[in-house]
């Protein structure tokens, strides 16, 4: 049994279909890159994986559990923006990863001390130890995203969802972030879903690259149909060869 299983997912907003017939099986520890045209429903799919929204049809299960109805500890997330708490210092943002699940959202006494020490270690990993007492607004985009990733990992999720996490970063910072993410992933063995609009990044980081696109296209009503996974590339070995398409694509598969 696969770790994450999406079965026959449909998602519409009003009467406008966004996703249709999305089927996906992912093994534990796989890194899935998701690419596709802007507005085709990649973020929507991520929100469904996160259980921030429930699909119109279909189910998503993690580890065979019943479909989740709301976001929780099992799934961590990093959005392109607004992922860290502006009113908490950098260190407090990391500690929040441990503290928010407590009844008062805080740790007290010795526990708080221990969490701070662990937070400082995490910050050192993220290269943020020198700004631990500052607020996120003072950080650059790359530093904020490192913080967001560090914070998400502190809660030890089993699945990490990244929505264009490096989309707003300059190329140099982006490469550094790739190394950072791959290191963390090797350590934790997490299952990762990453939406990106950069194909190269998708192939470089992912074990598989999923392409979302509309298999049916009505030229007079471009919004009549939703998108689905049209290609599922094997991208291991750094994505070489890119061309190896897994046999099981979902292009126009008859029902």
């Amino acid at each position: 049994m696969s770790f994450v299983v999406a079965e026959n997912i449909f998602q519409s907003y009003g009467d406008r279909p966004i996703l249709e017939r999305v089927n996906l099986e992912v093994d534990e520890g796989e890194f899935i890159s998701i690419v596709g045209a802007s507005g085709c429903g990649k973020s929507t799919f991520l929100r469904l994986l996160l259980a921030q929204e429930t699909p119109t049809h279909g189910t998503i299960r993690v580890d065979g559990n019943p479909p989740a109805t709301e976001p929780g500890l099992e799934r961590g997330v990093v959005f392109q923006r607004y992922s860290v708490f502006p009113h908490l210092t950098i260190r407090e943002n990391i500690v929040a990863g441990e503290a928010f699940k407590r009844p008062w959202g805080r740790l007290f006494g010795a526990e708080a001390k221990a969490a701070q020490i662990r937070a400082d270690a995490t910050l050192a990993r993220c290269g943020l130890d020198h700004v631990a007492d500052q607020y996120p607004a003072t950080l650059s985009g790359g530093m904020q995203q490192r913080l967001a990733i560090g914070q998400a990992l502190t809660a030890k999720p089993r699945v990490l969802l990244l929505d264009e996490p490096f989309g707003a970063l300059d190329p140099g910072t982006r490469l550094a972030m790739h190394d950072f993410l791959m290191e963390l992933r090797a350590e934790t063995g997490m299952t990762v879903f990453m939406v990106t609009h950069d194909l190269e990044e998708g192939f470089k980081l992912g074990d598989r690259v999923l392409v979302f696109d509309k298999p049916r296209w009505d030229p007079t009503h471009p919004e009549a149909f939703g998108a689905t996974i049209t290609y599922d590339f094997d991208a291991r070995n750094g994505g070489i060869p890119f061309q190896t398409i897994k046999e099981d694509t979902h292009v126009l598969r008859p029902q």
Partner: protein, 270 residues
């Protein structure tokens, strides 16, 4: 250089900022001078020097009968009413702002109600308040609360809803309960907004306070102004008006400073 890119230097900026005040004072002095020239007993525009003398007397000399310095007693009474009223509004505004902003059930139940209630002109309710709560302190505080609480709830709940959904979802993925999201995400981000809302509602709060004091009271700044109006004591009225303005300005300045000191993280966003 374009006008939009021209900025005054520090000295000129100070001069320009002071200019309207000086002009107002000069205009008043001229008006007063000519009226007094025509009729030395004219009470409408007392000379600035007369107002200054009166102010000195009001601030330092006790009442002939009781020896109490009325201005300070009036100030204390008014500030107490204002403080209690605004504090109650801040408290309930925060609580309801968080509940309406974060909980769809509460929002569905109360948002429309609050919107309608906030349309009631509070002063029209004043007679009802006097009948229900008597002519004492309570009705004055209630008028302030009725006058600004609906606005505050609307403002603050709107501010809570402005918190990016991503942050709420993020807190959920860190295992935060509804309670923790309110306490650790909503509340702290609302605090600087609360101070802003208090600053904005202090104007209306003064208005309601002075209205209530004018109609039924035995002390307070508003009471005194309307009392001496009968004797056309413009020098007293002007002293009180300037004093109230100064108080309002100082309170506003204190709140602004507090906000800057207490919420350094909000600087960039506010």
């Amino acid at each position: 250089m374009r006008l939009i890119n021209q900025k005054p230097g520090p000295a000129l900026a100070f001069f320009l900022a002071a200019l309207p005040f000086v002009l107002l004072l000069i205009a008043y002095a001229i008006g007063s001078y000519y009226r007094l020239l025509e009729n030395p007993n004219d009470k409408l525009l007392p000379a600035p020097s007369k107002v200054f003398e009166t102010a000195q007397r009001l601030f330092t000399e006790g009442d002939r009968r009781t020896g109490r310095i009325l201005l300070w007693h009036d100030t204390a009474a008014s500030l107490r009413r204002l403080g209690i009223g605004v504090a109650l509004c801040a408290f309930f505004g925060t609580v309801f702002g968080l509940l309406i902003g974060l909980l769809p059930y509460v929002r569905t139940t109360l948002a429309g109600f609050v919107a309608v209630i906030s349309m009631i002109p509070p002063l029209a309710l004043l007679p009802i308040l006097f009948i229900m709560f008597g002519l004492g302190e309570l009705s004055k505080v209630v008028l302030i609360v009725v006058g600004i609480l609906p606005f505050m709830i609307r403002d603050l709940s709107g501010r809570v809803m402005e918190i990016p959904r991503e942050q709420i979802v993020k807190a959920e993925t860190l295992g935060a309960s509804t309670w923790v999201i309110m306490l650790r995400v909503g509340l702290p981000q609302l605090m600087p907004r609360l101070i802003q809302a208090v600053r904005l509602s202090l104007g209306p709060a003064w208005l309601f306070l002075i209205a209530a004091e004018a109609i039924a009271s035995d002390q307070g700044l508003g009471y005194r102004i309307f009392l001496v109006r009968r004797y056309l004591a413009m020098d007293v009225i002007l002293t009180y008006v300037i004093w109230i303005t100064l108080l309002a300005f100082i309170i506003d300045w204190l709140l602004k400073t507090l906000s800057r000191k207490a919420f350094p993280w909000a600087e960039a966003n506010l």
